[in-house]
Symmetry: C2
Subunit: 473 residues, 2 copies
């Protein structure tokens, strides 16, 4: 059954939550008294729609419905997850929670996006304190998977498993502390950066370069400790700490003190930031950022690592069923074109049509039993010939599907004819693909076994009876 | 003329410098009295050879020669760049610099990999102080582009332009301070992480997840300030500081104090790290890390952003000349297969053969004048048909080249026949490619102008006289 999320406060963070739920098929109710709320959420949604769906390689997200609601009572009453993202004022949050708990379901999850308050503070005076927990996201909420969960163990555990279904990673923080985990690091780096600017050591641009050309790329995939474990070499983590540990007492840093945020310092930072990024509007920067994040997360996905491994897990969990009706053309693939498949002409690069057909061919392989276990056992299919005819362009974000007809499935040979179409049925490209059954040990062709031969025979008989696809001419 | 680097100290950092120079065509002399030096450098080189070359999409790196030398005098005497990476003991560094300056060229650059010392400290008692500067790299040195340069402006400026030729970004730090820039951030985060572990808030794994599922991916492409600029929205950086600034005075953090590194804390970290990553050897982790970095940096390269933009710049600067001898088959492409082009079979995915042929076709387009400026003017070629015949597999790290014959270049039509080969000449794949000249405005075919037609005619006449390639059968 379709689940419902209630979003209380529809700014950048609340809007990001709304988009994350909505694009994962939830219905979303939003409460925000700001007359600009609809426009603001619409902008976040635009960004989310052009970036989130293409993280997946095997499903097209069916959006839920979005409703702006006039009262908190109406917003929360049938909701499974209620997310509070109002300004960081404790008395305001207390009022909001009282209103929520007066009208919500007893089993609803109530998360707060707060970075400034601990759950014990949020829960003060609540009718059902254990229901309220911290669910602290990171911007852009529709792309970054991390949610810090702090609160009653049972609420956090339920929240964690719900978050998994919308592609997020709930990190349960064992004890409540100010600023949870991530923001403590951000705060530490922020202070240090302010000193560097104030003291004229480096500009905002130089500091950003120092991060993104150096440890930033390391941290994107392994974080701090695994990176240092590698740096420590075979001697391991103890060795590394022995080497690096003493630095802690060196006079390396101004961390012991906090720079005063004078008008002069604020102006200096703002001017440097203008010089660095002023050639782009914020909207442009958001899209550049999102495209970069999607491309890097998809790169990590192909390595099955870090944030990419989370996306792969979700894809695997949502893998579409194999076609079962073998007496009709096979619907072998449905997907969205991702940003990393485009070229200088702005459309999908010709090689990625090949990717689509390669993936569609995999589905037929799976249908006859050549799945991952089969490949792991040392047998597979290799493509030996593709005739690809390009009919039309396609662009990032477009939904496409592939219809496949089996032309031959006998002995070592599997010959497929794929038609790639837009959602409206317009033909984009065709591919006549010949695959050969091989031994992965000898890397040479060989006959498939009896079980596979039987499945191939059934497929061959059912499919070769069908009329030739029109596009074959 | 081939340049020479002298590497003094061949550990992980010195070995990384050696690999970076060597794979960019420099000859490298290494001095390291450790009897294990050759093995250690060999291990770093193995890692570098399997990851660095494939960052490029258009050149095959010709390695220089590596020599282990017995004395500092011999190591440095003809070197253009001398890099000191000995242990962080000032008196040892002073001895090494004295020995270097007694034997090196007056115009040699002398960089130090130190993270702990300022250039003024390194230069104490030197015969030519201004020659010595900090050139602080980040591990793995063969992949990460950042070098912090601190010292005399003239030396730093020369170092910066030399670094560019080996794919690195020299960041000139305007004033010397302890720990330069990057390590101040690392130090701040390290302290905070130690508190989180000591206080039982999070494990090493949870801290790494908090980084790599959250701000780590953001920082990999935009760093700190540009990320916050976006978060501030249209109101800009001042607005952001106004919002976030006050947090600086909140009691959010233990940064004001330093945890004592007791045996108990060290054991706790080591145990948690074993639980997190102990299933991989350090060698495996190095390769996982390098493959992740290459894949993400290549993803950023396709977006022309951050560390990827640096790689693209270097590729563009090293772009091979277009073939000029048009009466012979055209050598249209030479490259190394990158890690992000592989699939579950462990070899290059079939779609990436299409990428290679697409890139080879671009070279012929360039030869007849359909270059980036032409495309920007609103005209281009689209591929309408590819017949790809796969003969053999290829794997990450392999050098391949494409030989192209023009079968037709008349009117709107450009028909090419590509043969993709291994370095030893073995045929990997062929492609018969038909391209059509199009208007990017109407997205329909149109006749090319007179200048292009003339170039096409010359190419057509020269190439169609050649015998048909044997592989066409």
């Amino acid at each position: 059954m379709t689940k419902t999320a209630a979003i209380i406060g529809g700014g950048v963070i609340g809007g990001g939550w709304a988009a994350r739920f909505l694009l994962n098929g939830w219905n979303v109710n939003v409460f925000d008294p700001d007359p600009e709320a609809e426009r603001k959420i619409g902008e976040v949604l635009d960004n989310a729609r052009r970036s989130l769906p293409a993280l997946s390689d095997n499903r097209i997200m069916q959006e839920g419905s979005l409703t702006l609601v006039e009262t908190i009572a109406e917003t929360v009453k049938d909701s499974d997850w209620i997310q509070e993202s109002v300004p960081e004022r404790l008395e305001m949050k207390h009022k909001v929670f009282a209103e929520i708990q007066a009208h919500c379901r007893k089993d609803a999850l109530i998360g707060s996006s707060t970075s400034g308050f601990k759950p014990s503070e949020l829960q003060e005076g609540a009718s059902n304190p254990a229901q309220i927990f911290v669910a602290h996201p990171f911007n852009p909420v529709y792309l970054l998977p991390l949610i810090e969960l702090v609160g009653a163990p049972q609420s956090c555990a339920r929240a964690k498993s719900t978050l998994e279904t919308i592609g997020m990673h709930g990190l349960i923080v064992k004890k409540e502390i100010d600023a949870h985990i991530g923001d403590r690091f951000l705060e530490a780096v922020w202070r240090e950066a302010l000193w560097l600017i104030k003291d004229g050591i480096a500009t905002t641009q130089e500091i950003d370069d120092a991060i993104r050309y150096g440890f930033g790329i390391r941290w994107a995939q392994m974080g701090l400790f695994e990176t240092y474990r590698v740096a420590g070499g075979e001697a391991g983590m103890k060795h590394f700490i022995a080497q690096f540990g003493p630095c802690l007492s060196w006079p390396w840093t101004k961390l012991m003190d906090v720079p005063e945020l004078t008008d002069e310092l604020v102006d200096m930072i703002a001017d440097q930031s203008d010089a660095q990024s002023g050639m782009h509007t914020i909207r442009e920067l958001e899209r550049i950022r999102d495209d970069n994040l999607v491309a890097m997360m998809r790169a990590l996905k192909a390595r099955n690592w870090g944030a990419g491994a989370l996306i792969k897990q979700q894809d695997d969990a949502n893998a579409p069923a194999l076609p079962t009706q073998i007496d009709k053309p096979l619907r072998t693939l449905e997907r969205v074109i991702p940003i990393d498949w485009t070229d200088y002409n702005g459309h999908m690069n010709e090689s990625r049509y090949g990717q689509v057909f390669s993936d569609a061919g995999d589905v037929v392989m799976n249908m006859i039993g050549a799945d991952q276990a089969y490949i792991d056992s040392g047998l597979s299919y290799f493509t030996v010939e593709n005739l690809i005819q390009f009919r039309n362009e396609t662009h990032p974000g477009e939904e496409i599907h592939v219809q496949t007809q089996v032309l031959q499935a006998e002995g070592k040979k599997l010959r497929l004819y794929h038609e790639m179409n837009r959602a409206n049925g317009e033909l984009l490209c065709t591919c006549n693909q010949l695959l050969i059954h091989v031994s992965l040990e000898t890397r040479r062709s060989c006959e498939p076994g009896g079980e596979m031969a039987a499945k191939m025979k059934a497929l061959h008989e059912a499919q070769t009876k069908l009329p030739k696809p029109e596009s074959m001419g």
